[in-house]
Symmetry: C2
Subunit: 197 residues, 2 copies
């Protein structure tokens, strides 16, 4: 399979991490995350939103959106339970991730990694939104080993993607003991790879 | 089933619309979308993100996130195909909706409906982001009757929620002929209900 990838993107990392667990080899095509001018030509026919990750299956069919991609790849494996209610809980966490975690943690990290200086209003908004999201994640993880069904699943992969590098966006995770313990549990899973490795 | 609801929320409307198609009756509990101070007590034990919609199934189990809720309710019905690739395409559109449509179209609409005056920077950002999202949706709908598999599905319900009331947030849909035609097709589906009815 071919993955239009960004090495620094937590969204792309989700796909690489699950692929490592599943023993799927990915051909990576690296796209620039700052200069996006070549994206319409490269992936416009594959993903109208022009974002990475975009996956191309071996038969040429494309898939967009990190969480949709990993749920597709995990179907029928231990990483996505067949149980209807557990699947809905997993999706609930994944939508929360794209709505509350990613737009704050990933964007604040992007500013730092690429030396972008946003307005004070924007930076404050990202930090307030990110802290609110981390508080919700902490509540969701309190007393649990993993997000859904006490088993490591694609929900954990989705939330781990940007949460474990929150410090790179200026977030302090020390007020969140349940998140910190869960990060260690995710990193200890068999077949785990790092975001930069 | 009991739905913690907001009458003006496009996210809650998705659940009410699918429930109308499926003949599911919902007991509605209306929550204030401006003063959210009572939410920890009301739904903190059901949804750590404290958002509406939050659904409580007849056996008491809760579900969070509009798109996760409608996918759960649609399982096994004509509104959610069993085909693995089509399901991944549906999820792709639903994650796009929560990442690019909702944070721009819904928030711009919220400002107008509740007479909130955001900073010029925030308003410009919402309008630029919303237009970019609508352009992607227009590309995705060009030459198609519905988003996935040429059939009305939960993907269309998810995207319709806020797109059809984009004008209430100050967006002009006239540059998007494929979106406009699709809005009419969705509204013509058997069992359709309006956001305020």
């Amino acid at each position: 399979m071919l993955l239009y990838n960004s090495a620094v993107s937590g969204n792309c990392y989700k796909v690489r991490l699950l692929a490592a667990h599943l023993g799927i080899s990915l051909e990576l095509v690296e796209l620039d995350v700052v200069d996006r001018s070549n994206r319409p030509g490269l992936i416009g026919h594959l993903n109208p939103a022009l974002r990475v990750p975009t996956l191309v299956l071996d038969d040429g069919r494309p898939l967009a959106e990190s969480n949709a991609i990993i749920d597709y790849l995990a179907e029928g494996t231990e990483y996505l339970p067949a149980h209807r209610y557990e699947r809905a809980q997993i999706l609930g966490w994944q939508f929360f991730e794209q709505y509350e975690i990613e737009p704050n943690l990933a964007v604040a990290r992007f500013f730092k990694l690429f030396n972008v200086t946003p307005s004070e209003e924007t930076l404050n908004s990202k930090h307030a939104g990110g802290d609110k999201a981390l508080q919700a994640l902490e509540r969701g993880l309190t007393g649990k080993t993993f997000l859904v069904g006490e088993r490591y699943s694609v929900a954990d992969i989705s939330l781990y993607g940007y949460t474990h590098v929150a410090a790179e966006g200026g977030f302090d995770l020390s007020p969140y003991p349940s998140i910190l313990a869960w990060i260690d549990r995710v990193a200890a899973q068999p077949g785990h790879i790092k975001i930069d490795g």
